[in-house]
């Protein structure tokens, strides 16, 4: 039995090499169809845009926006994918005596959120900073904090600032593998504008977000920053976001916009499809005589049909793999747009196989009723 299969594999493979022209034709058109097909799938009518995720937690996403090209709807797409969006770094803030208003994205919505002062007042000079309620447990009005981070242009800043106000807002806490970390917010003066920005306090080096985390400011502990106070603080906030694990740091993320090139891709797909089907048709039709010979010499119908079309199928699958690989490489290198997914690749491969099988089955079914001798001696 195994020997029988070996003999048939041998027969099929030999043909793959001897009947180069037909198989090569199928191969080439399969490459083209898979290339265009995968490109179509990977775009599905959309082109990509990059957004960098600073931190992704299991419950919350912290993102930082690299440039201002992004619209609110872009951000919304991201929140739709990941659930809650916590904050976008460097958000403009307006403060008056009693309240600071920040334009933030929170839970699917871009919204203005008001924070009232718990203590102190608004910033009056650029060496001042407003901190949150939780940070207020560590710092008081008049304390000096060392703030390091990046400004809007991305240049690093490191300044000593005096706390002038404490807002009535909470921090998010989560443990990481390297230590505990509190995500908080503070209001800083950057280029004469006030911004609400993310701030972190860490024990050890729990934050490992890289060195160009715009929108993140690190606060250096001052003298009052006793370890037991810090501990209690971590414990306090710890309950709020229990089980909130870091699942991604500094991720490149893609969002999609409508693709104007869609029409061309579909046109390419239709052309590719018809030539592919045409080449299959030719390759099967010209094997009519071979089918007859195989039947005459002792093959069953299904077996004979398999034998005459499996090398075409192999060529098609091989072509599909090559076409998809080229497509993926171009997308990875950024030469082509597209969201790469294993499912799309498998779908394209499956479609190629089904197209091949389907079209050959139709021809095969038509021939089943024919007389063996007619298959051999009479051409169509």
């Amino acid at each position: 039995m195994a020997g029988g299969i070996l003999k048939k594999i041998n027969y099929v493979l030999k043909d793959l090499l001897t009947d180069k022209r037909e198989n090569f034709r199928i191969f080439i058109f399969s490459v083209a169809l898979s290339f265009v097909g995968l490109f179509f799938f990977c775009n599905m009518g959309y082109v990509k845009k990059h957004i960098r995720l600073l931190e992704r937690l299991s419950n919350t996403v912290f993102i930082t926006v690299e440039n201002e090209d992004y619209t609110y709807s872009d951000i919304e797409k991201l929140t739709r994918e990941y659930g809650t969006l916590h904050f976008v770094g460097h958000t403009g803030v307006m403060c008056d005596e009693n309240v600071c208003e920040a334009y933030v994205y929170d839970k699917f919505l871009a919204d203005t959120i008001s924070y009232s002062f718990k203590k102190g007042k608004a910033i009056e000079s650029d060496n001042q900073v407003i901190i949150s309620k939780s940070l207020g447990k560590l710092y008081d009005i008049g304390d000096t904090v060392k703030v390091s981070g990046y400004d809007m242009a991305g240049t690093p800043i490191e300044k000593k600032k005096t706390v002038c106000g404490i807002l009535d807002m909470d921090a998010v806490y989560y443990p990481t593998g390297k230590g505990n970390l509190i995500y908080d917010m503070l209001i800083v003066d950057l280029d004469d504008e006030l911004y609400l920005a993310d701030a972190i306090i860490t024990t050890d080096n729990a934050f490992y977000g890289g060195d160009d985390n715009m929108g993140i400011f690190t606060l250096e502990p001052n003298d009052k920053y006793e370890s037991d106070v810090l501990e209690s603080l971590f414990e306090n906030i710890g309950d709020v976001s229990d089980g909130n694990d870091v699942i991604g740091v500094n991720e490149e993320h893609l969002i999609y916009e409508k693709n104007q090139k869609k029409v061309f891709v579909i046109a390419g797909l239709i052309v590719g499809l018809s030539v592919f089907l045409g080449s299959i048709y030719i390759s099967v039709i010209r094997r009519r005589r071979e089918l007859g010979v195989l039947l005459l010499e002792g093959a069953g119908y299904t077996e004979a049909l398999m034998l005459i079309k499996i090398n075409g199928l192999l060529s098609a699958v091989l072509g599909s793999v090559v076409g998809e690989t080229v497509s993926i490489i171009l997308m990875k290198k950024g030469i082509l747009d597209g969201y790469i997914s294993l499912y799309y690749s498998l779908a394209v491969l499956l479609i190629i196989v089904l197209l091949y099988m389907g079209s050959t089955l139709i021809v095969g079914a038509c021939w089943k009723r024919e007389h063996i001798i007619d298959l051999i001696e009479r051409d169509i």
């Binding site: 041998n10 005589r289 010499e297 002792g298 069953g300 007389h371």
Partner: protein, 227 residues
């Protein structure tokens, strides 16, 4: 291998209600080692008979026994097996696969013979090609060969897995006189070695060189010719 047809009838309905009956109550027996020629006018049913014998066609009524087994009982699979094991076919237009080489063409019957292993191919193919004096052609392309050469390759394919019966339908129909002689000689040689050979031919000269001749009459019956 004993071939025995009893009251065999073959009917085709041609489009409308008209019926064509190429075989009508045919009684026919072929013993092992016979060399039989079937002649008769065109369209009378010679090929039909040969195809029925070769398990390519079904009969409408009557019985066809192969070694006393009624072929009616065979499944499609068993028929395929019988075609492979017991019959070698030589067709009018050689029936070779044009884009495969001689070796691959001759190897086709071996592929479906479960008892033959891949490593035996070369020996068997060599032997079959030697029998038809084509040993040097093993790796040639089929479409480069002449009609006579192709027909000899076709005989090599028919005998490669050593079937008991050779069925040849107009094997010389497309050949010139010289090639015709070569083919007939080879069929005679095969018969001398004990193979049953049944040949359909228009050529009374060929028919004359054969042991038993059968002729179809217009009633669709097969009659033994007086030699």
């Amino acid at each position: 291998m004993i071939i025995e047809l009893k009251g065999v009838k073959k009917e085709y309905s041609d489009g409308k209600n008209k019926k064509i009956t190429p075989l009508n109550n045919v009684n026919f027996r072929v013993n092992k080692g016979d060399f039989i020629a079937i002649t008769g006018p065109s369209g009378i049913g010679k090929s039909t008979l040969l195809n029925i014998i070769g398990c390519i066609d079904k009969i409408t009524s009557g019985q066809y026994f192969l070694n006393s087994i009624n072929t009616d009982d065979y499944t499609e699979r068993e028929k395929s097996h019988v075609r492979n094991k017991y019959f070698g076919y030589v067709l009018q237009n050689n029936g070779l696969i044009p884009y495969r080489n001689v070796y691959d063409n001759v190897s086709v019957p071996l592929m479906f013979d479960k008892k033959i292993r891949k490593c035996e191919y070369k020996e068997k193919i060599e032997k079959a090609l030697e029998d038809v004096n084509m040993a040097d052609y093993m790796h040639r392309n089929v479409n480069e060969l002449s009609g006579g050469e192709k027909q000899r390759i076709s005989i090599a394919r028919a005998i490669v897995n050593d079937p008991e019966v050779i069925l040849a339908d107009e094997p010389t129909g497309a050949l010139d006189v010289d090639n015709k002689d070569i083919i007939v000689e080879q069929l005679c040689k095969l018969n001398e070695r004990g193979k049953t050979v049944i040949i359909v031919t228009h050529d009374l000269d060929i028919a004359g060189r054969v042991g038993v001749q059968y002729v179809f009459n217009h009633a669709g019956q097969l009659l033994q010719a007086d030699v």
